[in-house]
Subunit: 221 residues, 2 copies
C-alpha cells in the first residue's frame, strides 16, 4: 500500500514531472521523498524482515521433525548410526513431500482435473523435482491417496449423522486442510523455486539489513 504509493510517486518524478529535476555539474538532482515517506519505506522493509525471520523460525520449529532437519536433505539420508553394526539398511524408504511440493500438489489437486493422466503425472513430477527428490510413483500414489481419503471422509461424514447427537461440523469433507490456501497462493506458483538453498540465499542476500530499525516501536512491543 504505502510502497505502491511511493512507487507511483517515484514514477511521476522520473517521467511525468521534469520540473522537479535539476542538473548541476553533471549531477542530477530531483525532489525526493520526504523523511516521513522514507521512514515509511524503511518500516516496510523492516516489517518484511521481521516477518520473514519469525516465519523462518516457525517453519524451522515446525519442520524440525521432518524433512528440513538441520538443513539436510529430507529424503534418502544416511544416518550415522550405521556404524554400529556396519549395516546400511536404514535408508529411509518412504518419500516425504516437501512443504513446497505439498503446496503445489494440493493446488493441482484442487484446480480442476481430478484425473492425473500419465502425461500430467510426468509434468508434475518434473515440476516438483525442482523442489526435492521425487518420482512419478510418488506423485501417482499421492493423488491416489488424496482422492481416496477425501472420498472416505465424505462417506464417514455422511454416515455419522446417524447416531451422533450433536450437530457436528463434519461436513468439511476435504476442505479443511486446503481451504485457507488460495488467499495468496494464486500467484507465486511453481516458478518461485524456493527450496532451502534458495530461501537461504535470498535471506542471506537480505540478511542483516533490518536490525537498524529495531529501536523503533512499530513492532508493537
Amino acid at each position: 500500500m504505502m510502497i505502491m504509493e511511493w512507487d507511483q510517486q517515484q514514477q511521476q518524478q522520473q517521467e511525468s514531472q521534469p520540473q522537479n529535476q535539476k542538473e548541476e555539474n553533471g549531477v542530477m538532482y530531483v525532489k525526493v521523498m520526504t523523511d516521513e515517506q522514507l521512514e515509511t519505506l524503511r518500516k516496510q522493509i523492516a516489517v518484511y524482515a521481521s516477518i520473514c525471520e519469525q516465519l523462518v523460525e516457525m517453519h524451522k520449529n515446525l519442520t524440525a521433525h521432518q524433512d528440513l532437519t538441520g538443513g539436510r536433505l529430507g529424503n534418502l539420508y544416511c544416518d550415522p548410526l550405521m556404524t554400529t553394526g556396519g549395516h546400511k539398511i536404514s535408508a529411509r524408504q518412504r518419500w516425504t513431500p516437501t512443504a513446497v511440493q505439498l503446496q503445489i500438489l494440493e493446488r493441482i489437486f484442487h484446480e480442476g482435473t481430478g484425473t492425473p493422466s500419465k502425461q500430467k503425472i510426468k509434468e508434475i513430477t518434473s515440476e516438483l523435482s525442482q523442489h526435492g527428490q521425487i518420482s512419478e510413483t510418488n506423485v501417482y500414489n499421492w493423488f491416489q491417496n488424496r482422492r481416496a481419503r477425501s472420498k472416505r471422509k465424505q462417506v464417514v461424514a455422511a454416515s455419522s449423522n446417524n447416531n451422533a447427537a450433536e450437530s457436528e461440523v463434519e461436513t468439511e469433507v476435504e476442505s479443511p486442510k486446503t481451504k485457507p490456501e488460495n488467499l495468496l497462493a494464486s500467484q507465486a506458483e511453481q516458478d518461485v523455486c524456493f527450496q532451502n538453498p534458495e530461501i537461504s540465499s535470498q535471506l542471506n542476500y537480505l540478511g542483516g539489513s533490518y536490525h537498524i530499525y529495531d529501536q523503533h516501536a512499530w513492532q508493537g512491543e
Copy 2:
C-alpha cells in the same frame, strides 16, 4: 546488505554531506539514488514479499494438521481452564478411550475378525458412543494401531530371540527396539511463542504491496 548500504548513503545525504542538497523556491533538492539503486531496493522488498508469501504458505500447510486435522473430533475438552495469558484454544485434543471403551475394543479385537469392516466399525462406534464421545475414525485408527503394534511385538520378539550381535543377519528393517532417534524430538515444544495474531496483523499491514514487481525477472526465471 544492499539496503543497509543505501541506508547509510541516505544518512550521509541527510546529515554529513549537505553539498548534495539544494534549496530552490522552497523546495529541497537532494542527490538521490540512481535508478539502479532504486531498482535494487525494489527488488529487496519484492524478495521479502515473495519469501513471506512462500513462508506463509508453508506455515499454513504445516500447521493445517494441528489446527484443522482433528477439527471436528468429538471429544473437545470444552473445559476452558487455560493457564494465565490467554493461550490459544487449539482444540487439538486427541481422543482417549475410556476404560469401558477400551475393554470393549480389546474384547472385539480378540474375539475373531481381525478385519473390522466399515459396517462393523459403525456398529462398534455406535456401541461405544454410549460410553463416551467417539467417532468412527477413532475406532478405525484404534484397530489399525492395535493390529500393527501387536504384530510388531511379535516381530521384535522373534528377531530378538534368534540373532546374536555378531552374525548380523539382515534383521528385517533395522531393529526398532534400539533406535535412539529422539535427537531432535525434544526441543521445539513450548518455546514457540509467536502465534498467528502478530503475524497476521503485520501481514495485513503489508498486504498487496508487492505485486507491482511481478513483471521483473529477478526471481530467477
